[in-house]
Symmetry: C2
Subunit: 196 residues, 2 copies
């Protein structure tokens, strides 16, 4: 047996709130961490607002292990765009990921480097398959926290740079009749990079 395998262990997951017991590693993203991600700037005085948190069950970051985490995205908007995760490719691009929706209403925006995109729904009981090669961003389009549990190979890693520079082909915005998927006017535009 590889010395890179941990001993067996059990973590408790609240299947409604997504909270983990014991709580392990938590990453919080505030509006200030999201600079340049939304089309509009955030309002003065809101920089410290927590947009989302990721609660990870850490394991060695090797190919044979499986990382897992709960993501909680708060409801809200910057301009007409909903609160969302930064979104990333995996460092090892071909690694897949599985999302298990627990609560709230969301969109999972996925895109390949050559501009293919698709948007799937995240809600309680959805199992979303993010294949290798697809960047992924989740967007809270509801009034409650959006919560999902994700599983991915331990060596997948996170590449945020490509999305920070190029953006996603589409944005999810609040339209008159609810969420709308619209083209991103800054997709692969140098301006996006400067703003970020």
């Amino acid at each position: 047996m590889s010395t890179q395998a941990p001993d067996p262990f059990t973590t408790l997951l609240d299947l409604n709130s997504g909270s983990l017991d014991p709580e392990r590693k938590v990453v919080e993203r505030r509006l200030s961490d999201m600079a340049g991600m939304h089309l509009e700037g955030y309002a003065d005085g809101t920089a410290d607002t927590v947009i989302y948190s990721v609660h990870e069950i850490p394991v060695p970051t090797t190919n044979s292990n499986l990382m897992s985490s709960t993501t909680v995205i708060q409801p809200g908007k910057v301009g007409q765009e909903y609160y969302m995760t930064k979104g990333h490719f995996h460092n090892i691009r071909d690694r897949a990921e599985i999302y298990i929706g627990l609560s709230g209403e969301g969109c999972l925006v996925m895109a390949t480097e050559d501009g293919q995109y698709t948007v799937e729904t995240i809600r309680r009981g959805t199992i979303n398959y993010v294949p290798g090669g697809w960047a992924h961003r989740s967007v809270n389009v509801g009034d409650e926290p959006l919560v999902f549990f994700a599983v991915y190979p331990g060596d997948a890693g996170y590449n945020y740079g490509t999305i920070e520079e190029e953006g996603f082909p589409v944005l999810v915005v609040a339209g008159e009749d609810g969420p709308e998927v619209v083209p991103n006017p800054r997709y692969k535009d140098a301006a996006a990079s400067e703003a970020g």
Copy 2:
């Protein structure tokens, strides 16, 4: 992007019953499929009784993909031993697996090839980590179906032979005060192989 990556897709999982929509690939195990797995033989006329079913969301069986499935184990016993899965190592031994408990009461028996073992609890909201190198069997110790959702690397594969030949170091049996973990008298005994 690898041609071995499917397009993005979403499957619905009932977070109580574990049922999948659309239903994909189903494997059913009957008592007749479990011959030699329990210490005692099953009663005459019960050979066709379904002990458990595995409902899989199939993806290409490559390292970068993630397989996932719901397992439903019925309540019941053969002699004093509870209904359980066959149990297996992964073909690629060092691949990990994650179980998400949905309903019922169970034990997850894990063992290494050199005879180390541990037993974890499966119930609604447990996240069990099965590290690489650990064979795993789940046992329904309750009165209702035991249901969990599992995620594992696409190339992990199933090695049933070692367990069929050697068994697990311990059995889970109904004791006077509930489930008990007891030594398996046939562990690594040639008799187990002949019986199987």
